[in-house]
């Protein structure tokens, strides 16, 4: 039982990060119908910038803010400079361009910072509180939960309570009609990319301190887990992204703990097969469509 409790909290901590990153994927998907395969590399790039600032100024929080602001800028830039000019007659063109961007970003980061791991500090202690001899959550885990919750809440308000959010949803679902109604559809696309990249950057800042450190490939594995999480939850549903993230985090932790780390990817595949055969568009596909 102790072990189960321990693994549960361990999995929730990881899952929260996957959830944040899956959220970024869902944002872009809803806005542009593109799965942004460059999300991981973009988040790493802004994390490098954030940590450079943090190290230079000695203030983690300044670096954190810079990373998120960098995400906004990078997202907007990628949309304006590259994605806008992609021929979307085949959905694969966007995927290939995004994969090309991954290579460019990783190559450039390698040139600037080298292919070494660099330390990525955390703003809070990572020592877990113990209850009855079982290590549960650390201050940093609580910070991750709080940050992810804040993002979900802010996004919910943005999309359901504000004018901009309404226009963004309109341009994503019916670009032509929106244009006729005077919505700046191109601007909304840029905004969608900027927002998503900012959320991705935040997720990067949350996950990198818990892993091996800063590295051009630091988010590769996180991307795979988070994409899985988004698919499990349903790419149209922010709630699904969070639920999917937590599920994948828990599953990885239980399987690694009880069966061994090697089996984990097989378990993830099984989860996907089971979920998608039951609900081909993710767990939260229909309810989400109604709720939004």
């Amino acid at each position: 039982m102790d072990r189960f409790v321990f693994l549960t909290f361990d999995g929730l901590g990881r899952g929260a990060v996957y959830a944040a990153f899956a959220l970024a994927l869902v944002l872009i998907w809803r806005a542009t119908r593109i799965v942004n395969f460059a999300q991981g590399a973009m988040a790493v790039a802004t994390a490098y910038v954030g940590y450079s600032v943090a190290n230079a100024t000695g203030s983690y929080w300044l670096g954190f803010v810079v990373a998120i602001a960098g995400g906004l800028l990078l997202g907007a830039a990628v949309e304006r400079v590259v994605m806008r000019f992609v021929d979307h007659s085949s959905p694969l063109n966007g995927v290939v361009v995004a994969l090309g961007l991954v290579l460019v970003i990783q190559g450039v980061l390698g040139m600037i910072y080298g292919n070494e791991f660099r330390p990525a500090g955390a703003p809070f202690s990572r020592d877990a509180f113990e209850v009855g001899g079982i290590a549960l959550l650390s201050r940093f885990d609580l910070f991750v939960f709080a940050a992810v919750f804040a993002v979900v809440a802010l996004l919910a308000i943005l999309f359901t309570r504000t004018n901009v959010g309404l226009r963004m949803r309109a341009s994503a679902f019916a670009p032509d009609v929106s244009r006729l109604l005077g919505v700046n559809v191109g601007g909304m696309l840029t905004l969608g990319w900027a927002l998503a990249a900012a959320v991705g950057s935040m997720a990067g800042m949350l996950v990198i301190p818990t892993e091996l450190g800063l590295h051009p490939n630091a988010m590769d594995i996180v991307f795979v887990s988070s994409f899985t999480a988004a698919v499990v939850g349903g790419l149209d549903s922010p709630v699904g992204a969070v639920a999917g993230g937590l599920m994948v985090g828990l599953l990885l932790s239980y399987v690694s703990g009880y069966l061994g780390a090697t089996v984990a990817p097989i378990a993830v595949l099984v989860l996907l097969v089971v979920v998608l055969l039951g609900r081909p568009a993710g767990l939260f596909s229909r309810s989400a469509a109604r709720a939004v």
Binding site: D127, E130, A135, P216, A261
Partner: protein
């Protein structure tokens, strides 16, 4: 079909065009002598290393350091009047890419030898190819026992201490100094972890608990949790540096205190503490073993030499144990070239290495002979104290079978005055 045809025709053109170029370049590489890669003034050797990708961390510094040492030797006139060129190919630690780049080195660039190819899964795949083409395959950068098969692969030689030898040496230290403690193990889920555990269990018998990890899942929380619950007092790790840091960090996070004993592969303090960042003090007390001088030991004449070379020929890269490793490989290769003599041939250098007797920077014996192609055969223990990793005690040597772990008491040698091994 017509378009396929035009695509095929385009390949033909491109192929024909490039084949023209490659004939030129191969002519330049092998011109004059009958030995591939060797002319009166040059020797061309190649290597495969991960320079990019997730496995590149740390390793990407090795080959440039070796190259810098060669530049240093070249500036002093080279070996027997020949300058050494070192062609470094990035294989991203992908065995399929290794196949491609090693063939390019051997078939197109016509290198004299492959030096210090890195990685067990990557290099295993090219053993047969190198054997068929009779290419010397010197000082492979991995502790697998596969390199030591003189009957099957007569041209292949290892460099690193193999994982089993290391496991035995670390385990006998644990047996002597930490008797009666509950010893557990966590290792990478491949030959590194398996061979290491085999060595440990040869000395200690079955460990109390064992866990494994895979590099594609950077969360060792479940494993560390299990070791904590099993009540482990000593944890022996066969981990790469990133996972050493992760294990130390995770153990601290869950309040698990144990004596960590780590394989040399993952125990480089500068690499670990970089990853741990502010949590670097967690590495305090860490026990490991090594066979090359510590990069932080400024009093060591080898380190002084390497730092000089690093400043002059390596763009003053951040000096760490990877650079010490790379330069030591370069030193050993130059020793081998000197031993092979003026009339350099592929058979000649293999015979020279098999003759052995090389003295160098290491505090452990090189065991090369006609029957033994493994690399270093021993290690000395290290400990992290006061934020510095340093040797203690005496070096030990042993074999990968049931031989005893015995003290190795040869005198350490100092580098030659000019930093270049003399002709023997």
């Amino acid at each position: 079909m017509r378009r396929i045809w035009s695509a095929l025709a385009a390949i033909t053109l491109v192929a024909a065009a490039t084949s023209g170029c490659s004939d030129d370049s191969s002519g330049g590489g092998s011109g004059g002598g009958s030995v591939p890669g060797v002319t009166a003034t040059d020797i061309l050797v190649g290597t495969h290393m991960p320079l990019t990708g997730p496995a590149a961390a740390g390793y990407s510094k090795i080959a440039p350091a070796t190259k810098a040492y060669f530049e240093f030797v070249n500036a002093a006139g080279g070996v027997n009047g020949r300058k050494i060129s070192y062609k470094i190919m990035d294989d991203q630690y992908n065995p399929a890419t290794t196949q491609q780049v090693v063939r390019e080195l051997v078939l197109q660039d016509k290198v004299f030898a492959i030096l210090n190819g890195l990685g067990t899964p990557t290099h295993t795949g090219v053993l047969d190819f190198l054997k068929t083409n009779r290419v010397p395959d010197l000082f492979v950068a991995s502790g697998s026992r596969s390199w030591n098969q003189p009957d099957k692969y007569p041209g292949t030689f290892g460099f690193n201490v193999d994982y089993t030898v290391e496991g035995k040496i670390l385990a006998s230290h644990v047996k002597e100094t930490l008797p009666g403690k509950k010893v557990c193990f966590m290792g990478q889920d491949d030959d590194f972890g398996r061979d290491s555990l085999a060595g440990i269990e040869k000395i200690l018998g079955p460990v109390a608990a064992k866990q494994s990890y895979v590099t594609s899942n950077p969360n060792v929380g479940p494993q560390m949790g299990a070791l904590k619950q099993a009540g482990c007092q000593v944890v022996m790790l066969a981990t790469v540096p990133g996972f050493t840091s992760l294990s130390l960090g995770t153990a601290a996070k869950i309040g698990f205190k144990a004596q960590f004993v780590v394989s040399q592969v993952g125990a480089d303090l500068s690499t670990i503490s970089k990853q741990l960042g502010a949590a670097a003090p967690l590495a305090e007390g860490l026990i490991s073993a090594n066979y090359l001088p510590m990069s932080t030991d400024d009093a060591n004449p080898w380190i002084q030499l390497y730092k000089k070379v690093n400043a002059q020929y390596n763009g003053n890269a951040d000096f760490d144990n990877n650079i010490v490793y790379g330069m030591s490989v370069g030193y050993l290769f130059v020793q081998s070239l000197q031993a092979a003599g003026k009339d350099l041939t592929r058979e000649g250098i293999i015979a020279a290495v098999e003759k052995g007797g090389f003295q160098g920077p290491a505090n452990a014996p090189l065991r090369f002979s006609a029957e033994n192609h493994s690399g270093y055969g021993g290690e000395q223990l290290t400990k992290v104290e006061g934020g510095k990793q340093a040797y203690f005690g005496t070096p030990y040597e042993t074999d990968d079978a049931d031989g005893a772990v015995a003290a190795y008491s040869a005198q350490a040698v100092t580098p030659p005055q000019n930093g270049i091994p003399a002709a023997s």
